[in-house]
């Protein structure tokens, strides 16, 4: 509603409204926009008119707006709205740059697209922005000039301009020399080392630029002073720094340094601490009287913002409920070269969590998330629990770990309570595998589906299919593979919190494989000759509390039934018969890697597993020594003896695996790992079965295995090529048989390219070595097949991990001479 503006406001009725001036808009459109209507009552002067003016100005389309009263008859007023439209940008031309791409980039960055309104402001800011962007790259003499030219057009009322941007980059300015004056304690070389991004021009340092960038020079100077502070020169400062222009494209930097005195720590006392004693605090501060003064170190011991889980005073308080504590080191006395410190602590009230909530979960059910939270209502505030919660939520794989940021709400120092919100962002966590191809003498098709956040209780609930029943954190995968000579089907399911009370993981799997006899000469399969494997497993895993809660204990029972019908494999000496593999697997593992499961940056993983079959030979009364004897005598054939031996497979297998992740400089992460495996027999006469063996070398992809074999990756060598080195001289085993012992050591340096949820990509360089053996007689942990190389990994939630590695094998493959040379490995899934 219009209001009158005093002093002399009059009420009128609007008569005609006209729009004049230069405008490409329809008159009606403009009037409709102003909301002024003929017949409406307004005040002049009044709020309505000024609102209309503001509304039009806000559009940013006009250079001038006026509203005139053209005629007054009685209380009827005719209005004229005069608007001058800003010129519209027809095209931007950039001169002085060669690369077309760079020109397009400039247009895009400065949003100089056709149709934009050209204001003085746009011209000036564009000019400055382009010039500054060149200055940032070291072109200190860059000049930018912008002209606008009116475009003649046949259309009436056309108001378009052409923008011409002249860019003169000039020569790149390099730093010819950096001179330091006044430094005694630290040499010129040491000081120039501190200037990390501001470097002198040197012919041998071709990888680092010697450009002058004001912004970086400023932060480099600060780090120079920091270096002095670390060495005890508390008062060090740069008194003067000059940039001297040597010629058009080189400058000299001159820095005058005043070092001041070197200081030492005096007495360090604590004030205000009641929860921790002076001794306890001193242990953490770890500075002795007489130590060289180091301001940076002291600050770090009080609070180190770069490491959320550092051992410092702040974290000591923060991890034990003292959210509101503040700690300030204060210099209390300076005498000669000694500084006394007082660390003033105000502990304040202990803070307790009140409400703890999760938001943003539009797929995953509350209970799946809340059970993982280490922050609970009524608990004392602990920073380390918050940090750990974030890490573990990221590891679930349902949420984007890069955007998990806890939020403190309703923090109330008076009542000592705070609310905590964990906003999560769901990410796709299902994978589909569908492939078809020609391989192994026929068409091979695979269909695999794996759902990582499944809800099995809703599997028959039609409502839940949007598109799939999700949100209970269960995993379900189904896979089928078929070709002309084999078919394999598998189904697996796992529930991480069986019963929802404790993290007890239940996993179950079923699989069935049929392999038909393939006649290589006739290129045909014989479906009457076949080899069937049917198996399943059922396991439980429980997170332990002792020794610490990174430990997991697991147990599983697995069973496999092999059935041969007129089918000879390398495994059995008989073509008709059966074999059963029943085993109990017990494992203990510890995993505290953080934060992103695709790219861990710290922590370690350890696991020890033992897979044991029942010791049948203890009670079944078969005399295997006699059997062996009869085979030698010829009273029994090898096939008959083997059938007796392999009716129920008997063995034990022990494996160890340890992996460490360490962050080095920058974003580099070093992964170190060692693994061992051993397969043994309870009864030496019965012997180690040809099953469950280790095959070393290559990409480690499991592929199609009939016999419970373990393929161990070792890059730089062909797949499964590294049989025990002197096998032929020691045993009758062929090159196709697996080994019973292996060891492997690996170092891998990783660097991320991107860790976005859509795709995580990282590069790696590795050096590794491993070997396999037929027994402890020839076990030699130093006789390794070594290799080194580089690779790339891409993780996309829909496809899992994909990668390629190029590895050079330094040692010969057993049976050949000379180093193995380069191998290329394609990686699908997480193998290394």
């Amino acid at each position: 509603q219009d209001k009158e503006l005093p002093p002399n406001s009059t009420k009128y009725t609007i008569g005609e409204i006209n729009v004049t001036g230069t405008t490409s808009y329809n008159e009606q459109t403009v009037i409709a926009f102003t909301n002024l209507k003929t017949g409406e009552q307004i005040f002049i002067p009044g709020t309505k008119i000024s609102k209309v003016l503001n509304k039009l100005w806000d559009l940013g389309l006009f250079s001038d707006i006026n509203i005139y009263v053209t005629k007054i008859t009685g209380d009827v007023v005719d209005l004229e709205i005069e608007i001058q439209e800003l010129p519209e940008l027809a095209e931007t031309k950039i001169r002085g740059l060669k690369r077309k791409k760079k020109k397009e980039e400039l247009i895009k960055e400065n949003k100089l697209t056709a149709g934009k309104r050209v204001t003085e402001n746009l011209i000036t800011t564009t000019q400055n922005r382009i010039a500054n962007s060149y200055k940032e790259e070291g072109y200190l003499n860059a000049k930018v000039k912008i002209n606008t030219v009116k475009v003649e057009d046949t259309l009436p009322n056309s108001n378009k301009v052409l923008m011409v941007v002249d860019v003169d980059k000039g020569e790149k300015v390099k730093i010819d020399d950096i001179q330091f004056n006044g430094n005694e304690a630290l040499s010129d070389a040491k000081l120039s080392k501190q200037l990390k991004k501001t470097k002198e021009k040197k012919f041998w340092r071709f990888w680092k630029r010697s450009k002058f960038i004001a912004e970086e020079y400023k932060s480099d100077k600060a780090s120079l002073i920091k270096k002095y502070k670390e060495k005890g020169y508390r008062d060090a400062r740069i008194t003067n720094d000059t940039i001297i222009k040597k010629d058009d494209n080189s400058i000299v930097l001159e820095l005058d340094v005043e070092e001041g005195n070197r200081y030492y720590f005096g007495n360090i006392s604590f004030l205000g601490n009641s929860v921790y004693s002076d001794e306890q605090l001193k242990q953490i501060v770890n500075v002795q009287k007489g130590d060289v003064y180091n301001g940076t170190l002291l600050e770090k011991q009080v609070a180190d913002p770069t490491k959320p889980d550092a051992v410092d005073l702040t974290n000591l308080y923060q991890n034990n409920g003292y959210l509101f504590s503040t700690i300030n080191p204060v210099e209390t006395r300076v005498y000669n070269d000694t500084i006394d410190f007082e660390i003033r602590i105000s502990e304040n009230k202990i803070a307790y969590f009140d409400h703890v909530t999760v938001t943003g979960n539009d797929k995953t059910n509350d209970n799946v998330i809340y059970r993982e939270l280490r922050v609970k209502p009524g608990q004392k505030y602990s920073k380390s629990n918050v940090v750990r919660t974030i890490r573990e939520l990221g590891q679930l794989g349902f949420f984007d770990p890069e955007v998990l940021e806890p939020q403190f709400k309703n923090v109330d120092p008076n009542s000592g309570t705070l609310d905590m919100v964990f906003p999560v962002v769901e990410k796709g966590s299902s994978q589909i595998e569908l492939q078809g191809g020609y391989g192994g003498g026929g068409f091979v098709g695979t269909l695999g589906l794996s759902f990582n956040n499944f809800s099995i209780r809703n599997i028959f609930n039609k409502e839940a299919y949007k598109p799939l029943p999700m949100g209970d954190g269960q995993q379900l995968s189904v896979r089928a593979q078929a070709s002309s000579f084999y078919e394999t089907y598998s189904l697996s399911f796992s529930e991480p919190w069986l019963g929802g009370k404790k993290p007890v993981r239940l996993s179950a799997s079923l699989s069935h494989t049929v392999q038909y006899f393939y006649n290589a000469q006739q290129r045909d399969t014989d479906r009457n000759r076949r080899f069937l494997i049917t198996g399943g497993s059922l396991g439980l895993a429980k997170r332990l509390r002792v020794p610490d809660d990174f430990f997991t204990l697991s147990g599983a029972i697995s069973f496999q039934h092999f059935n041969l019908q007129n089918y000879n494999t390398g495994l059995f000496t008989f073509g008709d018969g059966y074999s059963n593999n029943l085993a109990l697997t017990v494992g203990l593992s510890r995993d505290n890697t953080a934060t992103n499961p695709v790219f861990p940056t710290s922590g370690s993983q350890f696991s020890v597993t033992a897979k044991l079959s029942p010791p049948y030979s203890l009670w079944n009364g078969t005399d295997y020594e006699a059997l062996n004897q009869q085979q030698e005598d010829g009273t029994l054939t090898a096939a008959e003896v083997d059938q007796e031996k392999f009716k129920w497979l008997e063995y034990y297998k022990i494996k160890f695996n340890g992996t460490w992740y360490n962050r080095l400089v920058g974003k580099f992460v070093l992964k170190t790992s060692a693994e061992y495996g051993f397969l043994g027999a309870y009864n030496s006469d019965r012997g180690v079965p040809p099953f469950e063996r280790f095959f070393l070398g290559g990409d480690g992809l499991g592929g199609f295995s009939l016999d419970g074999r373990e393929t161990i990756a070792l890059r730089g060598y062909p797949n499964q090529s590294l049989v025990p080195i002197d096998r032929s001289s020691l045993s009758q085993a062929t090159q196709n048989d697996g080994a019973t012992i292996y060891n492997k050591y690996s170092l891998e340096l990783r660097h991320p390219i991107t860790l976005k949820p859509a795709a995580s990509i990282y590069m790696l360089a590795f050096a590794e070595g491993g070997a396999s053996y037929d027994g402890f007689r020839d076990f030699n942990p130093f006789q390794l097949n070594r290799s080194a190389g580089i690779g790339l990994r891409i993780f996309m939630p829909a496809f899992g991990l994909l990668g390629i590695d190029f590895g050079y094998g330094f040692d010969p493959i057993p049976g050949t001479t000379g180093s193995n040379g380069w191998e290329t490995h394609f990686i699908i899934g997480q193998q290394f």
């Binding site: 979960n361 059910n365 209970n367 809340y370 209502p377 009524g378």
Partner: protein, 256 residues
């Protein structure tokens, strides 16, 4: 080429308007395959909405556009479009209906209790606004039913989260969470259970404590139990409560 395809490619906005409205009206009057008709209407409306903005037909167009999404049960878009309508045409005759349908769209978009309830909160806000603006409105009854249901959903969510602390044997957090629950949702349908399980958490905490803490904690549990009986002498869970009461008294005898 069908009439629809022709209109879709034609530049004549009046034609598109007419045909779109006729599809919409046919669907409203119960023509066959109404969903296809609404979809066609939406396609046409999308093309002409900007041109009609500010014109007399614009108001009707904006309403039927939003309502088409509503009829298609695409509540995410209808909620937004109705909201826009109420802002753009506050003087319209159909603004009450639009306000209600906007709220109802958010209501339909509200997920099951165990997921994030941002849309539930939004729906409740919209309903509240409706109650305030149209206290005598024609949809007030339906709106009341919806608001009650959404409120109960939020209650269930908070209750289940607190109950999970009890289930996972995190008894201290459970007590705190039930306490918060009773303050945040007074008079909820889970009130008895919340009071009972708060007591049971305290009881289980007490009997699983170190010996020197048991008595003190049992007394706390007993006070929670007394509180339960104060309100629910013959409650759903009173049989179980009576059993535990006897147990507590027996245990406390050992300490006296």
């Amino acid at each position: 080429c069908s009439e629809y395809q022709k209109a879709l490619k034609n530049d004549d906005i009046a034609k598109k308007y007419e045909l779109g409205i006729s599809y919409y009206e046919q669907a409203q009057d119960g023509a066959k395959r109404p969903k296809a008709k609404y979809r066609k209407a939406i396609k046409l409306f999308e093309q002409i909405l900007p041109q009609y903005r500010g014109k007399p037909q614009g108001e009707k167009l904006a309403f039927v556009y939003a309502n088409s999404y509503y009829e298609l049960e695409d509540y995410f878009l209808s909620g937004y479009q109705f909201e826009r309508f109420t802002k753009a045409y506050p003087d319209s005759d159909r603004v009450e209906e639009a306000a209600f349908k906007s709220a109802r769209s958010y209501y339909e978009g509200s997920p099951r209790y165990s997921l994030d309830q941002a849309d539930t909160d939004k729906a409740l806000d919209k309903l509240q606004l409706y109650f305030v603006t149209y206290p005598e409105g024609q949809f007030i009854e339906e709106a009341n039913v919806m608001a009650t249901e959404l409120g109960q959903k939020l209650e269930k969510k908070a209750y289940e989260i607190a109950k999970q602390y009890h289930h996972t044997e995190n008894y201290k957090p459970a007590i705190e969470a039930f306490d918060n629950y009773l303050v945040d949702y007074p008079g909820s349908s889970y009130r008895e259970k919340a009071i009972y399980y708060k007591f049971e958490s305290a009881y289980l905490l007490a009997i699983n404590s170190y010996d020197y803490l048991v008595e003190e904690r049992l007394l706390v549990a007993k006070s929670y139990l007394d509180n339960y009986f104060k309100y629910y002498q013959d409650g759903e869970l009173s049989v179980k409560a009576n059993e535990l009461k006897a147990d507590i008294e027996e245990r406390l005898q050992e300490y006296s």
